[in-house]
């Protein structure tokens, strides 16, 4: 009996100590909170392919556009953001069937990065935000909520951002978000066409408005 009690106490102390240590010395709590609990896992459901794509000025959570977005808009041009996470089949599908081959981007899906694209007559900055990359800044992870216009918290999400006159006559960031694999039956040519049209619209708006864009 004494042996069992010793074993029980040792096991409890080891587990409690390790768990407590993880809470104190690692960011596991925040990781699980932001990357699992607050993110909808779509194992046997996926984001609807027929959600409308609409440009808007209003951010999804009412907060301002992040500085890194404003900087790119001011200095470079329109932006295409892809938000991805680990264990997301649709994210990988979109990367390997559209983003990588069509825009000819060198890709490591586990690292966040920005790259300027100039291909097929399209000029824009591609921003890949992989929330499970430890090097991804919190500002970039939090930007998901700024553009999650349907308040879904699902992945992948794509956001095209440009600038346009708002109703008050001031030039502001203007964006549209697309969710999941946004065409039925893996219709990749149609998805590429959608991206192309959105980026062309964004480029046109950016070219027209950049002279008056004052941050």
């Amino acid at each position: 009996m004494e042996k069992l009690i010793v074993a029980q106490v040792v096991v409890l102390l080891v587990i409690t100590g390790s768990l407590g240590g993880m809470f104190v010395y690692t960011d596991i709590y925040e990781d699980v909170q932001t990357k699992i609990v607050e993110t909808i896992c779509l194992s046997c459901a996926k984001l609807d392919t027929n959600l409308p794509v609409k440009f808007t000025f209003e951010t999804a959570n009412g907060k301002d556009h992040p500085d890194f977005i404003v900087d790119i808009l001011k200095n470079k041009g329109p932006i295409l953001i892809q938000y991805g996470e680990k264990a997301c089949a649709a994210c990988e599908d979109m990367i390997y069937n559209i983003i990588q081959p069509h825009f000819e981007i060198e890709f490591d899906k586990t690292y966040s990065f920005d790259v300027d694209i100039d291909i097929h007559g399209l000029n824009f900055t591609y921003v890949y935000i992989y929330i499970d990359d430890p090097a991804t800044s919190q500002v970039r992870i939090d930007s998901y909520d700024v553009y999650d216009i349907e308040h879904i918290r699902g992945f992948p999400m794509f956001t095209v951002i440009t600038i346009e006159y708002d109703h008050s006559g001031k030039i502001k960031p203007y964006y549209a978000s697309l969710y999941g694999k946004f065409e039925k039956n893996n219709n990749y040519p149609k998805m590429i066409q959608t991206f192309t049209e959105l980026i062309e619209t964004s480029m046109e708006l950016w070219d027209r408005n950049i002279a008056g864009y004052d941050v």
């Binding site: 074993a7 596991i28 909170q33 392919t49 264990a87 089949a89 699902g154």
Partner: protein, 273 residues
């Protein structure tokens, strides 16, 4: 208050607790039982999802593996698999289907399954499911248990499709998950606690902790009448008089209530003999 009534209240309280996300609560904890973080009202993470992410696609993240295992280990060391019997919402669901299962248990074919000599080996399936579909297939072929999880479908997918109408549609895994869900319901209707006995990966993690838990069920062998009533009522199909900290025991207490000689009881840590 009768023990089973207390257990019922406990299950109701934990079911409510498992859905506190409906009030906006989103924590970074893992559930110590089976519940899906994809549930629109979930305030915590599914331990299996964390483990899958730890191993997904040739990767290994020790934090995502240790965190859920230690969480389950902490609860398991204190109470063993009592969470299965007293807290798990899926256990609660099977409590509801258990009455039907008890009636069906009298049918010949179910008795044959229950009494078949290989039935005890079925209990190892949950360890195979845990290692096979949560770890190995996630690592090598990116197929995860949660892709076809019946619990995820009940508390995650269906509520998701309902709460966000028009925003989600079934994907490629949906049909497979639906088949697994149907099999899940057939199982829990023909075998009492069939899911917990044979397939639950969370139960597989918790089960070994029954051997060292501070709370367990003890039978006084010397005063036992060997009437076997305890084994008959045991939802996990354990040979109660001969169990010695059986990994399958969920500490539901049905045997304690049924024992005519009152020789079965919950045993807590003994500091003195």
């Amino acid at each position: 208050m009768r023990l089973q009534i207390k257990r019922l209240w406990s299950q109701i309280v934990f079911l409510i607790g498992a859905n506190l996300g409906a009030l906006g609560l989103r924590t970074g904890f893992c559930y110590p039982f089976f519940y899906c973080h994809a549930c629109p009202a979930a305030p915590a993470a599914c331990p299996l999802r964390a483990i899958e992410k730890a191993f997904y696609d040739y990767s290994f993240e020790w934090k995502l593996l240790l965190y859920p295992v230690l969480t389950l280990g902490f609860v398991g060391t204190l109470t063993g698999r009592a969470v299965c019997g007293w807290a798990c919402p899926i256990g609660f669901l099977q409590r509801g289907t258990g009455h039907v299962a008890k009636k069906i248990r009298k049918k010949d074919f179910v008795q044959k399954i229950g009494q078949h000599r290989i039935e005890p080996f079925f209990r190892y399936i949950k360890y195979i499911v845990l290692i096979g579909t949560v770890v190995v297939t996630s690592y090598f072929i990116k197929f995860m248990f949660t892709d076809i999880c019946p619990v995820g479908m009940i508390v995650g997918t269906f509520p998701l499709l309902t709460v966000y109408p028009g925003k989600f549609v079934p994907n490629d895994f949906f049909i497979y998950a639906l088949v697994v869900l149907i099999l899940f319901f057939i199982l829990i209707f023909i075998i009492e606690r069939g899911w917990c006995r044979y397939f639950c990966p969370i139960g597989a993690i918790l089960a070994p902790f029954n051997k060292v838990s501070f709370v367990n069920v003890e039978v006084n062998q010397e005063e036992c009448l060997h009437c076997n009533l305890c084994s008959v009522v045991c939802p996990m199909g354990i040979d109660v008089p001969n169990m010695n900290r059986d990994p399958e025991c969920i500490l539901c207490g049905k045997c304690i209530e049924k024992c005519p000689a009152k020789v079965i009881k919950f045993e807590r840590i003994k500091w003195k003999n």
